[in-house]
């Protein structure tokens, strides 16, 4: 039996008829066509499926899509605007925070949620903020430095740490 819902995803409302058991992740990928959100473990361990629901970081693999009815869902596609990559996305590129890229959407979403809550996190707060996201390539260092750079930028009004510390390609 399907259930009617209206999901507002990246500001766009969509009416859908959904099986109540379906996860928000599968609906985003298969019904809405937004494939930036990834399925990693499908078990709330890896964070590849991270989205924001009314600003809360949420593992979409383990969130029932029907429960997002009426809420504001933000996926990685909704982070950047027409102006191109956000400062956070640019910093990920600069610091080699991306290698295979599979964890990147979830990392960006978790980092966005963290910076929204704590605009200038300490390094340890960044590590805690990203603790629900696994990366198997970068060793996390470039990712943490990218977030730290954006945090520093929000304080100083400009980027620091220009060496980039780019990870091997």
């Amino acid at each position: 039996m399907t259930h009617p819902v209206t999901l507002t995803i990246n500001g766009v409302a969509q009416a859908l008829e959904l099986d109540p058991h379906r996860s928000l992740l599968t609906v985003l990928r298969e019904d809405v066509g937004l494939t930036g959100t990834k399925e990693g473990c499908d078990d709330s361990e890896c964070g590849a499926c991270m989205v924001l629901i009314d600003g809360r970081p949420t593992n979409s693999c383990s969130y029932l899509a029907v429960q997002a009815d009426g809420a504001e869902v933000t996926t990685v596609e909704g982070l950047s605007g027409a102006a191109g990559p956000t400062a956070l996305q640019a910093a990920f590129l600069q610091h080699g925070g991306v290698q295979c890229g599979f964890c990147t959407p979830g990392m960006l979403v978790s980092a966005t949620a963290l910076l929204e809550r704590v605009p200038q996190p300490a390094i340890d707060e960044i590590r805690i903020g990203l603790s629900g996201n696994l990366c198997r390539c970068t060793g996390y260092d470039g990712i943490v430095r990218a977030v730290a750079q954006v945090a520093a930028g929000s304080q100083a009004g400009g980027a620091e740490d220009g060496d980039g510390g780019t990870a091997p390609a």
Binding site: D19, P20, S44, G47, L64, Q67, A113, I128, S131, G132
Partner: protein
């Protein structure tokens, strides 16, 4: 209660992150193709209760219910009622008149993130903040609710031991009555509660810690953890200790992931009362807490290791609670800040 022979059934503390506010005693209804999946969104407690009377299981944050279904622990119930928008289940409110210091009513939908950041909880129920701050990941804490955590009844849940030590009551709303159940009577076995399937947990009431002229109370929760986040307690302990003029007048000690349910250890509590709460008294009480343990061996640790670590973790919880009672600041979460002590 004794530990059963099958370690996977005895106290497997697999899922600790809260989300559903329903009765864990509800019989699992297999979600077969023959059974249509239904969902209703409850707008009032009465609507939720009506759905539950018809067999629906409540879901809030989904961090236990949905993940548990994937693990094959129990299939997702065919009939679900969303309780996540019930305004009556939200918020942390004073139990008495504002400012009177009569305790807290924590709505079942209050998330771990809300608890860990709440000024009153941090100041007066610090052990509960210690626990809420380390549940799962930021996403778990943003979505997982205290109500779900309590009703999931995991023997490894982090908030359980501090709630027990603070004499918390589960407020269960049934079709005919509202009743208050001490958490020690709510948890009956791993994943089992004494609530009826048609009762909804609406709040947890936590009395004010002992206070008054010359009384100083401190609390703490400490767990043994292999990592600081995305972790489930290997062993945990909570303590609430009140002192008057340097003498312990009241103590509460509870142990986590050391028995089929989280429980208090009266012998450890009694041994502390009348002492100076110093190193020797703490060591003796921690030893009694460890002796009350009936741990299992599982993927996170052997029974022998858990037993050995129980005294260490109980000691850290007691030291932290007594330090806090004395006005010494021990940052939240204590599991991180007391590591290695």
């Amino acid at each position: 209660m004794t530990a059963t022979a099958d370690p996977t059934k005895a106290a497997d503390p697999v899922a600790t992150t809260g989300s559903t506010t329903g009765a864990a005693t509800a019989p699992a209804v297999p979600a077969t193709a023959a059974q249509p999946h239904t969902y209703v969104l409850a707008g009032t407690v009465e609507e939720a209760l009506a759905a539950m009377a018809g067999g629906a299981r409540p879901v809030a944050g989904g961090t236990d219910l949905v993940v548990g279904a994937r693990h094959g622990k129990a299939p997702l119930p065919a009939s679900l009622v969303g309780v996540h928008q019930l305004a009556e289940l939200r918020g942390v409110h004073p139990l008495g008149p504002p400012g009177a210091g009569d305790g807290l009513r924590v709505g079942a939908l209050v998330t771990h993130a809300e608890l860990a950041g709440h000024a009153d909880v941090l100041a007066r129920w610090t052990g509960l903040a210690d626990a809420a701050a380390i549940v799962g990941s930021p996403a778990t804490r943003a979505n997982g609710t205290l109500g779900g955590n309590v009703m999931n009844a995991s023997p490894a849940m982090d908030t359980g031991a501090p709630l027990l030590c603070h004499d918390a009551l589960a407020v269960l709303h049934g079709p005919r009555q509202v009743r208050r159940v001490p958490l020690g009577e709510l948890w009956t076995a791993p994943g089992r509660v004494s609530a009826a399937p048609d009762e909804l947990l609406v709040a947890v009431e936590i009395p004010e810690p002992l206070h008054g002229e010359g009384v100083a109370t401190g609390s703490a929760y400490v767990r043994l953890q292999y990592r600081r986040q995305m972790e489930i307690a290997i062993v945990g302990a909570a303590a609430v200790v009140s002192l008057v003029s340097g003498q312990v007048v009241r103590a509460r000690v509870a142990i986590t992931a050391l028995a089929p349910t989280i429980h208090r250890v009266p012998a450890a509590e009694e041994s502390l009362v009348g002492t100076d709460g110093g190193a020797a008294a703490i060591r003796a009480a921690a030893q009694l807490a460890a002796e009350a343990a009936r741990p299992i061996s599982d993927v996170r640790g052997s029974a022998a290791y858990r037993r050995a670590m129980a005294a260490v973790v109980a000691r850290r919880a007691l030291v932290t609670a007594i330090t806090r009672a004395g006005g010494g600041g021990v940052p939240v979460p204590a599991s991180d800040t007391t590591f290695g002590s």
